[in-house]
Structure formats: C-alpha cells, structure tokens
C-alpha cells in the first residue's frame, strides 16, 4: 500500500502540473494548438490512472484549457470522480471544474446528487462551502428539487459562512424549482434579520433579486425592509434595499410617501457616491409613482435634479454618465425640471466619450417640444455629418427618427420638413438602418394624407436618382428606402406630376441589381403607375402616349421575368401578359383605363401591429374544446360537471384553462402543435411583415457592379431641411402676430375654457399650430379589442414561474421533497413524492389558478383601498380618543393596520408564519419563538419612525376633535381588519364573503369595551409538533397530516434534532404495526424492517423526514410503539443507541382543514344525515378568537361564519366525513355542539378538543 502511494507520487513528478502546462503553452507560441493537443492526450492518459491525485491534477489542467476555449465535456465523468474525493484539495479542484463546464444538459450531473448531498452535510464547513459554490453554477431542476430541503437546512447552520452561501444559492434553486419558493420563503425572510451581516446581506440580495421580477408579491415585506434601511450601515445592503424600494413604489404610492424623508436624509448625509446615486434613483421612482402635481414634492425633484447636475458636471466620467442616466428617468414625468438643463445636456453631446454622448441622446428624446424639435434635430444632423464611427452615427440616425416619431408624431408641426429630413438621411453612407427610414417614409405617407403630394414628389426624385443610393452602398441596406419610394410613388401615383417619367425611372435596367424584394415592389408599382398613365391619357384623342407606355412596359418587363427571384419573376410575367393584352385592346381603340385602374382600387389603411392578437375570442367559443367528441380514451373528462365551464368568465382572451383536464389539454395541444408543424398548409407564427422583407436573403448574393463615388452626394433638386427651419420661424412669427390680434378681440368676448396640456417655455405648445392641417390616421384595431398590458411579457422568462403569492398560507401539498419518501413509499402516495413527480404536469394548472387568485386579489385590494380612504377621513377624529382608551396598546393596532395597508390583502401573521416555520424548522421550539419575536419586531418596527420621523406624511397625525359616533364607527373598521387578520391566522382559506364581515361588524358593537383590549393581544405561538421522544442525544418531534387524495394514508413528519456534540448516523426508524395502521415500507422489505432515515445529523443540526402510514379505520385514536436506532460517532468512538417512542394517532390527525361556504354548510346541516353530540368546556380563560384559532390550528377546522361570540366551524376527514361545530361562549364557559356522520369519530374529536383546552 505504502509502496503504491510512493509510486504514485513518483509518477506525479513526471506529470505536468498546471504551471508546467501554462509554461509549455507560452513556450510554444507558434504551434500552440499542436502542443495543446499533445497535452490533452497526456491528460487523457492521466485520467485513466487510479491515483486520485493524478486525476485531480489532470482535471485542474482541463479547467485551464476550458478557459482557452477547448471543449472538455468528455471528461465530465472524471470531474465527478475528483469531486467525490474525500480530500478537500481535490474536491475543490473537481467542483471548480464542474462549475466551469457543467450545465443543464451535462448528463453525468444526475450522478452527483448524492455526492453533493453528502458534501452539504459534511462536518467540514469548507466541504460544504465548496459544494454550494459549485452547485450555484450548475444547479439543474432535478438537483434543485432533490437538494432544496438540504440547502434549506443549511440556511440555519451554526456557521455564518455556510448560512450566507446557503441563503444565496436558494435564489438559483427557486429559479430551477419554483415550487420551493413558498416553503422556503419564511426561513429566507427570517434570515433578513440574521445576526451576521453577511447572511443578512445575502438574504437581502436574494429577496431583492426575486422582488425585482415580481414586485407585487413582496410588498408585504416593505415594513421589514424599511426597518433595515433605517438601521443598516452596510452600504451594500442599503443600496440593494433602496433599489428594491425603487421597484416596489410604483405598486404602492403610500410607501413612496413614507420613503421620501429617510431617503432625502440619506442623500444629504451620505458620503458614498454609490449610495447617493441609488437614493436619488429611488426618490425619482417615488416621485414618478406619486401624482406629479403635488406641490410639496417639487422640492425633492429640485434636490434630485440639483444633485444630478453636480454629478454631470463632475470631472469623473462615471458620475457624469450615471447622472445622465438618472436624469433620463426624471425626464419621463418631470420634463420641465430637466429641460432647464438643456445647455448641459447639449454640451454632453460633444463629449469625447461615446457612452456619455449616447446617454445625452436619450435625454434629448424627452426634451423635445413642438418648439425646439427642428432646432434639436438640426443640431443632431450636424453631429451625423461629423460622426466618424458608423455605430454612433447609426445611433444618431435612430435617435433622430425616434425623437421625431415619438408619440404619434406629436411634436412635428411640419411634415414637409420631416420628409426632407428623412430624404437627407438617405444620403448617409454605410448605415444599416435603411429599413428604418423606409418604414418611416411609408408610415408618414400613409397616415398623413395631406403630405402625400409632397412625399410623392420627393420619392419620385429619389427614384430618379436611385443610382446615387445604390452602387457602393448596396450592401449597407440604404437601398431599402427605394422600397418605400417605389411603393409610395405607385400607391399614390395620382399625385405624381409626371408619372411617365417615374415609370421610366422604375424600369431602368439598373433596377435589376437591387435586392429581390425591392425589385418585386418596383414591378408591382410600375403596374400601378402604368394604370395611372393610362387613366391620365383617357379621353385624350392622341393615344400615342398610352401606346408608348405600353410598349415601354413590354420592352422592359422581360428583364424582370428572367429574374432569379421567384417573387419578381412571378409578378413580372403576370403583369407583362396583362400589358400585352391591354396593348391589343389599345390597338383596337378600346377604352381600358377604368378597368386597369380598378385592379388597384381601394384605400389601404394601417393596421396596428397588435391588432391580430387583440381580437377577442367570441363569447361561447372555446378554442380548446373538442368540436366532435374525442375518441374513447378520455372518459374521465366526460364525467366532469358542466359547471366548470359555465363558471368561467366569458372575457378570457386566452384559451381557458379548465381546472381538471389541464394535463390532458396540454398533451393535446402538444399533439396539435406537432401536427401543425408538419402541416405545410398551416400558417405558422411569423415575424412581422417588415421583418420579412429585411430578412429576405439574397442581398449578398446578387452580383453587383460597384460604382465608387468618392464625391459627396448632393442630389439636385432635393430640398434641404434647413430651409424649413427658417420658413417655420417666419411662419410662427406671423402666426403669433395674428394671434395677438385675435386675442384682443377675444378678450372682449368670453374666455374660452381650453385647458393646457403640455407647456414649455413662454410659448405654450398649443400655440404652435401645424403648418398644414394634418390628419394623422390612427392605426386600425379590431372592434372591441381587449385592452391588455401583458403584451410585452416574454413567456420564456424563467422569472415568470416565480410569480408566486407568498402571503397565502402554505397548503399541505406544498412541501419540499424529502428524500425519504422516494425510498420509503409506494408510488401512489400523492402528498409526498407523487407531488414532486407530477410537479411538472401540475404546473400549468397551478398557474391558471394563480392567475385567478391574483385577479381576485386585485379586486380585494381595490375594495380595501376605497375603504381605507373612507377611513382616513374618519381617522382624523379618532386619534385622541384612542390614546385615552388604548394607551400604548393602541400602537400595534395602528401598525398592524399599516402593515395590512402596505401588504396587499393577505398579510402573513404570526401564527401562520410560525406554523410554516414549524414544519420546516429543524429546531422547533426556539426557532418558533424567535420567529414570533421577529415578526412582532418587524411589525412594531416602523412605529417609532411613523411617530418621530415621518410627521408630515403619516396620515393620522393631524389634531382632531372627538366625536363619539365617529370614534365608534372607525373602531369597527379597525375591528373588522383585525378580524380579517384573525381569520387568516386561523389558516382559513380566505374565501370569505364580504357580508360576513358586516355581520360580525354589527354584532361586534357591544363587545367593544372588553373586546378591544382583549383582541389586542397577539396570538401565542402555536405548534402542532409535539414531542415524540427525547434522550441526551436526540430529540424527535412529530406532526401527523392526513392525505386528502388517499383516504387511507397519513403522513407523519418527524423532525430529528441532534442535541449532542457527536455525529449521529445510520438512523433507523421502525414501528410495530397494528392491524389497523401500518408503516409503508419499500417494496421487498419485510413487515418488521425499519426504515433508514435518509440523512445524518452533524452536531446541532436538525432535519425532517416523513413517513407514510396506511390506516383502515379512522374513527378511533390509536398508539403505535416504535424504536429509533442510531450510531453516535465522535472522534474516538462510536456507540449504538436506541430510543423508544409512542406514535399517537389522534382522530384530529385524520381531519383536513377544508374551507366551506356558509350556504353549503347550512345545506349540510339541513340534510339530516348528521348525528349530533355536544361538549361543554368550563373555565376557558382566553379570548374567543384565540379559542377559535386554537381549534382551527390544532384540530384542522376552518371557521365558516362568526357572529359575536358564536361561530360555526367545519372540517372533513380523509375519508370524507363531515364534521360541523357550533361554538358558543359566555363568560368562561364554552359550549360546542357538533354534528358528524360518524358518531364515534365525533366523540373522539370532541374529547381531543376538550383535552386541548384542559391543557391550557
């Protein structure tokens, strides 16, 4: 053995290491490729050896070669080998190599799952760290799913070094496995307040990254972030938070109001430019979100603009750049404040730095007005002439067009000027934006009717001088403008002064050198011109011109008939035959002009690019429904109740998703797509028409006779746009003079009430009238087009999947897969593994559900808002009174209100969070209280801020007089909110009708006196996890959940916590089955075999495993005896230990929280199938809502309706038994009347409820 090692080392002496490789490459500059290929051969040899050191060395070299661009994926398996070395040195090399060259389609990745899991739970923190770092680079959906739970455990690791890495990598996990977001989120949130700044920073980082893509789901975190912002001193964290607020404010303007002051303070106080800049940015975002008319914010705008001006004037180019960048954001909403700095911005246009010039250009876009457009464009045209690099010049060109065409040509007063500008731009050499100019020409000519005469004349000149445009510039795409020119001349040929001349120009032989798609337009429009010529010659006794024109066509068209381009050829031969026929008729003196012109009759209207998409699906048309009954296989579908379809709102534009047969539909859709793809007659989604012609191949392939023109191009007869500037000036002066006269007259009459829209400078925009009345034809849209905003969303965006409502309580099915099930259980148990497996197929279903949920949420929010507005008015009067009544107790109320205000409807609450936390938690008890504390802290946090700092903007601050009635009513509203909260605390599935609230409102009145104080108390933290067994090594707590999908299964979640300083391994969980209840064991194992717990526990760590049990009868509680055996391993010894326990299956654990509507509930009671029973609890000393919450939480009930001190509750067993409760309280006595279709079950459940309350 020793000999082998020595031999290995000696071998290594002759191997190249990384340094040798690098040196070798440097010494073989001439034949580098050859040298490297010999090196790769050596590496291949080295990888074949058994010695891991040699392999690691080889992999290390491969990593270097990968950087040089060599594909090393062939060594992927060797990389995995090195990764799994027990030595850190090699492991690190392996993981580095993997992170550099593994990706989703690397198939060996699936071999790494177990290795990575082992490394993650390694006692050596650097093994874990290296694994996390590596994983962050190559995590796949599978890895994410399999390892999510392990990583989540690491988020609570004792070492901050691991915690921060684990927190950070969760973002990648979320991206790859969106289902993990909700289960993991509570803990992530908790990490925002980690004692270690690094971990905190990582958590902020992750949440900011998530919130940036789907801000609305994170609004509820605003108070917490607010607290962090005011307390943190870490600039990195501050910058991230401030950026996050920038994304949140657009959704919640009230948040913005609150932010302005602390941000302004930061702006004044910070010395860090980066922080200052981000503050300014967010203040800008806030100002944008607030209505711009607010007078007290003009100071903030001024402050921002002023700070930005300082940045722009700074000699540091970086600051200058950023200043301009931020300025452009202000511009959108507060153009006036920016426009006053026009001098500065124009100055930046001359900067030597291209990035800065581009930014300045962006700003110009927003600074134009009717008044200064011509001036600014003139300046830009000068820059165009001067610009040397084509990229910058192209940028200028697009900017000029953008500036002019923005908001439907709003600022253009003189379209003749604009056409001239466009024509001038065609003279740019080497631009690749010919198509852009062309589309502008087309757009203007089509939509501005008044300009057609002028445009046609210009285009005719352009066609006449086409030789100047083509030639050497052929390749650069400027010839695209000829496409536009030809089309315009043809389409609007009636405006042409001399159509014959243009026709002649279009049929020149040189045209044949143009790209095919342009030739095609030439040919087609030549025909139009021909028709026009005939028309003009009609009635003319001398028919020679007409005949000559026909002859011209017949002479020239054959050139195009021979074209290699199919389109050109086809059109040309068609038209040629037509003309020949016409010629025949002409010779017979038949009048044909009418008929020929009829070929091209009819107005072409512009259609909006999104028009097609916006056509609504007619009512009653379900695009996904079968037209005929589908073949037999999908029987299940036929059973679906029709109600599902009927319920659907008829407005959906997209194909509707029916809840149930989604999977089936997806499959069918796939099949249909497949079919369509193979069907040549099916029109596939194609890019817009414009794209089609620019992408058309062939430009390069046409043989080109190059004409080099070094002389600057001046097209004779083309107007210079400059002269328009002068003309325009004169015209305006004249107009102004006239206006004055008119105004004098007007003053004598009445004032007209025309409001101003935009004004700039002394002369308001509206005063400038366009040179000629311009009718800008708007683009056509289909009738009753749907207004939708999500047009621009990219369906492939991975973040779309992360648009998940995080405030909703977690459902039972939403658990991170724990490896145990995979090994332990039969495939049919859906609550567990089945979930993960079917995740992919279920996803669309979830999504559609989510969409609905969100719609609902929005509605709720609106409702709430309006309510709050009302309340605010009343608020004014109430404050004093409340202070008297509530004292400090009142404060949390105000706060909780604020939180719920900020957080759209579902606020996460203490109980709920702690509940989530519990089943996720590894150290249940401490983490629960901690969580409760943090949440409480988070909620309380902004209070001092509201009281001290934000005096002007916190709403309820004005002095008020007291009025009894209003106090009362406002108090109700508060109560109502409280109740809403409460109900959520009870984990209720918040499908509550609003009138319930009103009910409870009405009744709540009497209980005000003693009710208020009571209800202020927050709910104590609750947990369903109870102790299973404990000794000095390990502690086990467990919770039992029913499985709705399978009436005979329950899932026992056990959290194992290592309490000692040793390593716990080889844990085996075994239970003595009873006749009624059995532990599900993997196939092939005997009925007495234990199940291996799929993880090991380092000291202080806890983890959760789940076990599936099958039960037959659920009406009776029962206990199962079991044993856990494990090995305690410390440095010098290892001992076998065991721990006995008793699993208590209560009847409660067979109940599943199921929401129930009050009407359904009433029907159920009326049906008479249920048998009653009742129980009386004495000496219950707790508020009613606590009582309800406890029943809900511990016994899986949901509140159906609550009126005063009386509530009806509902739950369902896994085998479908209905359990209904009517809970009444008076004093310390609580009476529960219950009904259930299974009396034994009911009796036991009631006993258990009694038990619960006797304990407290």
């Amino acid at each position: 053995m020793a000999l082998k090692i020595v031999k290995g080392s000696i071998d290594r002496m002759f191997d190249k290491n990384l340094q040798d490789l690098v040196r070798g490459i440097r010494n073989h500059k001439e034949d580098e490729a050859k040298y490297i290929s010999t090196c790769i051969d050596e590496i291949k040899q080295e990888l074949k050896q058994d010695n891991i050191a040699v392999k690691a060395n080889a992999v290390c070299k491969l990593t270097y070669l990968q950087m040089l661009g060599y594909d090393v994926s062939w060594a992927a398996f060797n990389i995995v080998e090195v990764m799994s070395s027990s030595k850190f040195t090699y492991k690190r090399i392996g993981y580095l190599a993997a992170s550099q060259c593994f990706h989703e389609s690397t198939d060996v990745i699936m071999l790494t799952t177990n290795q990575i899991r082992k490394d993650l739970s390694s006692p050596n923190q650097y093994d874990t760290g290296v694994a996390l770092t590596g994983l962050s680079c190559f995590v796949t959906p599978d890895l994410a799913r399999d390892l999510a739970n392990d990583i989540m455990t690491l988020m609570s690791h004792t070492k901050p070094y691991i915690r921060k890495k684990a927190v950070l990598i969760m973002y990648k996990v979320f991206l790859k496995y969106p289902e993990s977001l909700r289960p993991a989120f509570p803990r992530l949130k908790e990490k925002l307040e980690d004692p270690d700044p690094g971990v905190q920073s990582a958590a902020v980082n992750v949440i900011c990254e998530l919130a940036r893509r789907n801000p609305k789901n994170y609004l509820s975190l605003a108070p917490l972030f607010f607290k962090l912002m005011t307390s943190s001193t870490n600039n990195w964290v501050l910058i991230k938070i401030i950026k996050l607020f920038g994304a949140l404010t657009p959704l919640e303007p009230r948040l913005g109001k609150k932010l302005i002051e602390p941000l302004t303070n930061l702006i004044h106080s910070t010395s860090a430019m980066s922080l200052l800049y981000e503050c300014v940015n967010t203040v800008i975002a806030v100002l944008i979100s607030l209505s711009s008319g607010m007078p007290n914010h003009s100071a903030s705008i001024q402050l921002c603009v002023q700070k930005l001006r300082i940045l722009i004037e700074d000699s540091d180019q970086n600051l200058k750049y950023l200043g301009l960048l931020a300025m452009s954001k202000i511009l959108k909403t507060h153009p006036k404040s920016v426009q006053s700095h026009k001098d500065l911005i124009l100055q930046c246009l001359d900067d030597k730095d291209e990035s800065i010039r581009l930014r300045a250009l962006d700003l110009l876009y927003g600074m134009v007005s009717k008044k200064n457009l011509m001036e600014i464009v003139k300046k830009l045209m000068l820059h165009v002439d001067k610009a040397e690099g084509t990229t910058y010049r192209d940028e200028l060109l697009t900017k000029i067009i953008d500036i002019c065409s923005q908001s439907n040509y709003q600022y253009i007063t003189n379209f003749e000027w604009y056409i001239s500008i466009l024509v001038e731009l065609t003279r740019l050499e080497g631009t690749r934006h010919g198509h852009l100019i062309a589309s502008q020409m087309l757009d203007v000519a089509i939509r501005v009717k008044a300009i057609r005469v002028f445009a046609v004349a210009q285009m005719a000149t352009l066609l006449d001088n086409a030789h100047l445009l083509t030639g050497s510039m052929q390749r650069n795409g400027i010839c695209e403008v000829l496409y536009a020119a030809a089309w315009i001349c043809g389409e609007f040929s009636e405006h042409l002064e001399n159509p014959l001349q243009t026709l002649e120009a279009m049929l020149r032989p040189k045209v044949a050198t143009l790209p095919g798609h342009i030739q095609a337009v030439y040919v087609q429009n030549a025909a139009k011109l021909f028709a026009t010529v005939l028309k003009s010659q009609e009635g003319n006794t001398d028919s020679t011109t007409a005949q000559e024109t026909s002859q011209l066509m017949i002479d020239r068209l054959p050139l195009f008939v021979q074209s290699a381009n199919l389109e050109v050829q086809e059109r040309a031969s068609c038209i040629l035959q037509l003309v020949k026929y016409i010629q025949k008729l002409q010779q017979k003196d038949v009048e044909v002009a009418e008929e020929v012109i009829a070929l091209f009759a009819g107005e072409l209207n512009p259609v909006a690019p999104k028009a097609q998409k916006k056509v609504p699906v007619p009512e009653g048309l379900d695009l996904d429904a079968w037209i005929n009954e589908p073949p037999s296989e999908s029987e299940s579908e036929d059973e679906q109740p029709k109600a599902i379809f009927a319920k659907e709102e008829p407005k959906h534009s997209r194909p509707r998703h029916t809840e149930v047969d989604e999977k089936e539909l997806a499959r069918r859709r796939e099949a249909r797509k497949q079919e369509q793809a193979n069907n040549p007659f099916y029109i596939k989604a194609s890019p817009s028409s414009q794209k089609v012609y620019q992408d058309a191949p062939g430009v390069e392939h046409i043989p080109v006779v190059q004409i080099d023109l070094s002389v600057p191009l001046k097209v004779p007869g083309l107007p210079m746009s400059d002269q328009y500037v002068k003309l325009e000036e004169e015209r305006r002066q004249k107009e102004r003079a006239e206006k004055k006269k008119k105004e004098k007259k007007k003053r004598k009459e009445k004032r007209s009430g025309r409001g101003k829209k935009h004004d700039s400078g002394p002369e308001s925009e509206e005063d400038i009238t366009p040179a000629h009345m311009v009718d800008i034809v708007t683009e056509e849209m289909p009738e009753n087009a749907l207004p939708s905003d999500d047009d621009d969303k990219d369906p492939n965006d991975p973040h779309k999947a992360l648009d998940i409502d995080l405030d909703k309580p977690l459902a039972d099915s939403e658990k991170l897969p724990v490896r145990s099930h995979r090994a332990a259980e039969a495939p049919k148990s859906p609550a567990e593994d089945g979930d993960a497996e079917s995740a992919a197929t279920q996803e669309p279903k979830k999504k559609s559900g989510k969409e609905k949920r969100e719609k609902k949420k929005d509605k709720d929010r609106d409702r709430k808002k309006s309510k709050e507005e009302k309340k605010k008015k009343k608020h004014k009067h109430e404050e004093k009174e409340e202070d008297l009544l509530g004292g400090q107790v009142e404060e949390p109320v105000v706060q909780s209100e604020e939180t719920s205000e900020v957080a759209a409807p579902p606020t996460s609450t203490t109980a709920e969070v702690s509940d989530l936390d519990f089943w996720l938690s590894n150290a249940p008890v401490p983490s629960n209280t901690q969580e409760a504390a943090t949440v409480a802290a988070a909620e309380a946090a902004p209070v001092p801020e509201a009281a001290l700092g934000a005096a002007p903007d916190s709403e309820p601050d004005e002095p008020k007089d007291t009025e009894m009635e209003e106090t009362k009513s406002s108090k109700h509203k508060k109560k109502k909110q409280k109740k809403e909260k409460e109900e959520k605390e009870k984990k209720k599935k918040k499908k509550k009708h609003h009138h319930h609230h009103h009910h409870s409102d009405g009744g709540g009145e009497e209980s005000v006196q003693n009710g208020t104080v009571e209800e202020e108390e927050p709910l104590p933290p609750m947990s369903n996890y109870c102790l299973l067994a404990e000794n000095s090594y390990i502690k086990m707590v467990y919770d039992i959940q029913g499985n709705l999908q399978d009436g005979s299964q329950v899932v026992v979640s056990v959290i194992f916590e290592n309490k000692c300083d040793s390593f716990l391994k080889s844990m085996e969980f075994n239970v003595l089955d009873s006749l009624n209840s059995k532990l599900q064991r993997p196939e092939g194992s005997g009925p007495h075999d234990g199940l291996t717990v799929p993880f090991q526990l380092p000291p202080g760590v806890s983890n959760e495993a789940r076990f599936v049990f099958t039960v037959q009868s659920i009406v009776m509680p029962q206990k199962l005896k079991g044993t856990l055996t494990f090995i305690v391993k410390n440095e010098d010894s290892s001992t076998h230990e065991k721990l006995d326990f008793k699993l208590h299956f209560t009847c409660t654990s067979y109940l599943i929280t199921t929401p129930c509507y009050s009407d359904a509930f009433a029907k159920l009671l009326e049906s008479g199938d249920l048998k009653g029973s009742s129980v009386r609890l004495e000496g219950v000393n707790m508020p009613f809502h606590h009582l309800l919450a406890r029943i809900c939480f511990h016994h899986h009930f949901s509140v159906v309706e609550r009126i005063d001190s009386c509530a009806s509750m509902y739950s369902r067993s896994i085998q479908g038994h209905h359990v209904c409760l009517l809970v009444k309280t008076s004093g310390q006595t609580v009476s529960i009347d219950a009904k259930c279709d299974e009396p034994t079950l009911l009796g036991n459940v009631l006993d258990e409820i009694k038990q619960t309350f006797s304990q407290c």
Partner: protein
C-alpha cells in the same frame, strides 16, 4: 446579477473567465473577443460603463470594467447591480488578489488561475455578490489554503518537493515586474 466576470490582458488573452450562465466554449471565446474589442478601443479617461455587448445579456446588461496596468477586469451585470458598487467590488477584488499574491502581477494570474478562481468564489457566488469585506475574504481563503496544506501531509511530501523545486527555477520567459 452578475452574468460574467472576465479578466484579459491588453492583447485580449484571457486570464480568467467565469460565466454564471452556460455558453458553449465557442460562444465564450467569442464573448471574450467581443468584450475585449469593445473595451480596448476606449480611451483611458472615459467612463467605465459600456452598453451594447451583442452577445451577452441584452439591453438590461452593462459592462463595467477597470483597467490596471496590463489587465482588464470586466464584469457583465444587469440593472439590479449598482454601477458604482460593482466598480468598488472590482477594486476589492484586485486588492484581495494583491494581498493573497503579495504584489500581484499578470504572471500570478497566468500561473495560478485556479487560486484566482478560489478567491473569486469567496466574493461572488452564482452571479450574486457574496462578500465585500476584504478581510473576511482573505480569512476564508487562507483557512482553505491551510487545509489544503495540512492535507498534503506525508503522502504529498515528495510531490510537494517536486513542485517547490519546479517553482525555484526561473519561470521561462516570464518576468515578474509589472506591479500595480
């Protein structure tokens, strides 16, 4: 998010490339070439931000770079990162390298690209900033190097001797003089 971190010299030779998204080797090289092309033609006294890399990112992404002596450090980031913050981060990175290599120069990066990767891994993880405190980064890097040394132990002794004797010989045509 950081999409890529590139280090190359004045001639465009890559010294380190770290992509936080997968590209094929060819695309990676193309990106490096393109980035070098964009960055190298800029004057010294212009701003350190650059838009319009065609291959990487898109409109949301920016190149933020610094030029030290013979090397360019380029970070490709999206709009969630603070521009000035990243500039600071590059500075931290370089200072950390300087501490770890004791007066770092291009040769250190050429011969020890694996170490540079390890240092970077303590700063940026999966495209997100992990740590900005230089002392913390150095502590972690040192601790790991120590572990590596202790692991080498007896079995590694001959190999180490071999490596160390290799390192004593003057490194080829290289000169270690360009300090920054």
């Amino acid at each position: 998010m950081i999409k890529a971190i590139l280090i190359f010299n004045n001639h465009g030779k890559p010294r380190l490339s770290k992509f936080y998204e997968h590209y094929t080797e060819d695309t990676e090289q193309q990106i490096i070439r393109e980035t070098f092309h964009l960055v190298s033609k800029r004057d010294e006294n212009v701003c350190n931000f650059l838009e319009g890399g065609m291959l990487i990112g898109g409109s949301d992404y920016k190149l933020i770079y610094r030029h030290y002596a013979t090397l360019y450090f380029v970070f490709c980031v999206d709009s969630s990162e603070s521009e000035l913050g990243i500039l600071d981060l590059i500075q931290v990175f370089v200072e950390t390298l300087d501490k770890c290599f004791e007066n770092v120069c291009e040769l250190d990066l050429i011969f020890h690209v694996d170490k540079v990767h390890n240092i970077l891994a303590e700063m940026v993880m999966g495209g997100m900033v992990l740590e900005t405190n230089m002392n913390e980064i150095i502590t972690q890097v040192d601790a790991q190097n120590k572990m590596e040394k202790s692991e080498a132990g007896i079995a590694g002794a001959p190999a180490r001797a071999c490596i160390s004797c290799k390192e004593h010989e003057p490194p080829g045509n290289a000169q270690k003089h360009q300090h920054w």
